[in-house]
Symmetry: C2
Subunit: 158 residues, 2 copies
């Protein structure tokens, strides 16, 4: 689990990822306070970090119910990996951990609401971890270089 | 637009709808405070009410961006109609109003994230107002009488 002491490291790359505007459906100038509220959850939300061999935080994920009440048995999750540390398996390790935790918590499936179509690495990673693209909402994301691109809604039943 | 004075009337049927657990992905015993925070929005969220010939509130809708930042150009909306006043066109009137407002506000489309498959009246209404079911997330909603049913994700581009 992430602890409050992990936040400064998370915020360093989270701010960079949000500002780039290429993969996250957040305000590009989101405040640290708002980002922290979103990410550093309390149960039933869980926040985890991935660390490298030196103990440095290289990625983070937050997971929890996608909806509430009669729909609270389907989980969702969001992931961020330090752009300077990508391609080294942190995203996959976080994904595998979050899926295992959601199964252990008794969720019956996991849904992703907004995977950017041009974020090929993420799309391929989630497919390799068992997710199916249920639909792509056309032109639902405005990429700063590529213009309007689709948002995948992904799902896997447990 | 809804005003704070409309809230007691909205809450009367909202509480009933949430408690029934048949159509809304909210906690069935949601507190009035939390429901009010969710429904009585400030811009960019808009809250409206439908009133009958006597001026009584018979339904309400809240709309706004479905995501933020690079995805803030797609709207979403939620609707509730007093179960004792259903079948008299309040849902359709609210839907038409919300769609027109979203177009006027410059949104490029509208997405619904969780329309319960067994809520046939809602599914048919949204289809008749131009929405397409993009996918149905299987067994994503637990109906108190019908068991696990699907959740439609609907979309229409403007």
């Amino acid at each position: 689990m992430a602890t409050p002491r992990d936040w400064p490291a998370i915020w360093t790359f989270m701010r960079e990822i949000a500002a780039a505007g290429e993969t996250f459906s957040w305000d590009r100038d989101i405040s640290e306070e708002r980002a922290r509220e979103r990410w550093m959850g309390e149960l039933p939300r869980r926040t985890v970090v991935a660390v490298d061999d030196d103990g440095a935080v290289v990625g983070s994920a937050v997971s929890g119910p996608n909806h509430e009440g009669p729909a609270a048995h389907i989980a969702t999750a969001s992931f961020m990996v330090d752009p300077g540390k990508s391609g080294r398996g942190a995203g996959r390790a976080l994904g595998e951990h979050v899926l295992a935790q959601a199964r252990a918590d008794g969720f019956r499936g996991m849904q992703f609401n907004a995977v950017v179509d041009s974020n090929t690495r993420a799309v391929n990673l989630w497919h390799s971890l068992g997710f199916t693209t249920m639909t792509v909402i056309p032109e639902a994301f405005h990429h700063p270089a590529k213009g309007y691109v689709g948002l995948h809604i992904m799902f896997q039943a447990f």
